[in-house]
């Protein structure tokens, strides 16, 4: 596959690793957080941890929109799915995530609710067109990568004059979460960040300049192929060695300094900032999530239904012993959690980090468990 396979080549990987071995200072530890769940997934899936020099530690970040969605928001989605006449359209990732009292969209579907899995937000629009006598609600989740498609379908729905299409918006933002990590952060300091490649494609690498300047840690944006990640780690090591803290971009084929201006304009037209939003494991973060603007209220599920009872404020809702909050902040590793693999498994997830295959615990369980030293 063009522009994928070339970035997985073994020989180039070995070369980058040799450079890493040569350039890491044996007298120190490097602790880098890969913010994005997709990077966590790739790191484990390719077995990169064992290949990195022993004094580089990767700390897993909270960039997993499925993981950080509070259970109460999922309760709301399940409620909507059960409403008479509703077809709830959802991405596959959310279908088996347990909400309060272990209910899931999958179980709701088995009990008779109309839940339709879609690959694209556009498909939910098609469902609305094909079912004019039903109310179609699109369960929108994701960071800035997934937000422009939501904005797009809302605008298309308006342009087409659809009257049976609504969106339940749960979109969240990257830089506020980065700041929380840096503010409350791990007990042992992080030396730098691997930045999310596709979020950056939308928001642009310049978006990280304020955070990097304020907190004086380097950030390197990386693509998702193994060579991208290794190269970005090398770039971080070089910055740390040189006492620099800049925003650098390894993923230049996709991310630019300004990002996708058109996508952001569309987001801005349709969506606006929420005052505050609850993040599972991280708590309430001000100005960290998006809701639909009043001008598009006709397409806002939160305007049609009163979902206040599913308040997103109680987000410290994980069970006793669950270390997700600390894992999402990078303070602990999956194996530090007493529930990991004993009670909490991908089949029976207790906390946020296990519910999605790119959550730190799920990725470790599925790919890294029992392998190597880390």
């Amino acid at each position: 596959m063009k522009y994928i396979e070339e970035f997985r080549r073994n020989d180039a990987g070995k070369a980058i690793l040799k450079n890493l071995a040569a350039e890491t200072d044996p007298g120190r530890t490097y602790r880098f957080m890969e913010f994005c769940g997709g990077h966590t997934h790739a790191i484990y899936r390719y077995g990169l941890l064992d290949l990195l020099p022993g004094n580089i530690e990767m700390v897993h970040g909270p960039g997993c929109p499925v993981c950080v969605l509070p259970k109460s928001r999922l309760d709301a989605a399940i409620f909507l799915a059960k409403e008479p006449g509703v077809i709830l359209c959802t991405y596959g990732d959310m279908i088996r995530v347990p909400a309060t009292s272990r209910d899931t969209l999958y179980k709701a579907k088995a009990a008779g609710a109309d839940v339709a899995m879609v690959y694209s937000a556009l498909d939910s629009l098609a469902v609305a067109r094909e079912n004019p006598d039903r109310t179609v609600v699109f369960f929108a989740v994701g960071f800035e990568t997934t937000t422009p498609p939501t904005a797009s379908v809302i605008r298309r729905a308006r342009d087409e004059g659809l009257r049976n299409f609504l969106v339940f918006s749960n979109h969240v933002l990257t830089t506020p979460a980065l700041k929380i990590i840096l503010d409350t952060g791990p007990s042992v300091a992080l030396n730098g960040f691997i930045g999310p490649g596709h979020v950056s494609t939308v928001i642009g690498s310049d978006a990280y300049l304020p955070v990097v300047k304020e907190y004086r840690r380097p950030l390197v944006i990386a693509g998702f192929e193994p060579l991208d990640i290794l190269q970005a780690v090398l770039m971080l090591v070089r910055q740390v060695n040189g006492n620099r803290f800049d925003v650098e971009n390894e993923y230049t084929r996709s991310a630019t300094r300004e990002g996708n201006v058109k996508a952001r304009a569309l987001m801005d037209e349709v969506l606006e900032m929420r005052d505050t939003f609850g993040w599972r494991g991280l708590g309430l973060i001000p100005r960290s999530a998006l809701k639909i603007r009043p001008t598009y209220a006709a397409f806002d599920a939160e305007a049609r239904w009163d979902l206040a009872v599913f308040d997103h404020r109680e987000c410290e809702d994980d069970e006793k012993g669950c270390a997700c909050g600390e894992i999402l902040q990078g303070r602990k590793k999956p194996k530090d959690c007493p529930l990991f693999a004993r009670v909490c498994t991908p089949e029976n997830p207790v906390g946020a980090c296990m519910v999605s295959s790119e959550g730190a615990c799920a990725a470790y369980y599925l790919y890294g468990y029992g392998v190597g030293r880390k």
Binding site: Y46, G47, C64, D93, P226, E347, V371
Partner: protein, 331 residues
Amino acid sequence: MELVHGSGGRAMADLIDGLFVKAFSNPWLDKRNDQACFSVPAGRLVMTTDSFVVSPLFFPGGDIGDLAVNGTLNDVAVAGARPLYLSAGFILEEGFPLKDLKRIVESMAAASGNAGVPIVTGDTKVVERGKGDGVFINTTGVGIIEADVDISADRAQPGDAILLSGSIGDHGVAVMASRNHLKFETAITSDTAALHGLVAAMLSATTRIHAMRDPTRGGLATTLNEIAEQSGVGILLDEDRIPIKKEVLAVCELLGLDPLYVANEGKLVAICAAEDAEGLLAAMSKHPLGKDAAIIGKVVEDPRSYVQMRTALGGKRIVQWLTGEQLPRIC
């Protein structure tokens, strides 16, 4: 389909005669007894049964009928047995279109004919609307082990080689692509096939196959985890050696699926002593159903029975049991 078709009366007899017996026709079935009577050659008898409840019923490269015949034939074949006879039981939902049933029956007849294994006895029931998912099919197969083989999932030993007969993920991806809501166009078709000819060719090369299985639901990963656990060994795979079609890989990349967990319907995994591997591979490669065969890994000592894989980058990952159903993801 109407309830009267299952009630044992004239309507049912007409259906059986006009559809099933006509399509499957063979000396046993034509007798219209409640059972089939036959002698078997000397050897150890093998028997297997499977029920097919798949959705969608029709997909690129086949339908539930193909799976019902080939799936059971394969379960017989991977024991090292020559399949002899099949049975077929149908549970049909009231309202199920007769033309769909006819299509399925014709597929079964073709698959059975191609394999040279007759469907010698069967059964039909009809349930009320809402109490069945269109059609459920059960097939049972018997076969005979003539060679001196001892094939069992608990016989893999450290040092053994692991062979795979061809590319993974074709069936699962073909089925997924035919699900309208995912809206992918692709030329991939199901790999559904009867493998007993391939197995016969393999046994001519060596009878010293330790374990053999066809990786259907849950994919290659599930089958290997089963064998590892039953044999009390570990497995180490080499990602670079696992054959996979470019289009299958592309769909998996697009949807975020791991091909190791995607279903196959015409492939087998065989485990043999290291010294027999090259010979076995050569025999497989000469057969049309084994032309992409490869040695994909080896069995190792491991009290934890983990299946691990050396990735394209040279790192290692574990290949866990499948948890739940693999769904397309955005993250």
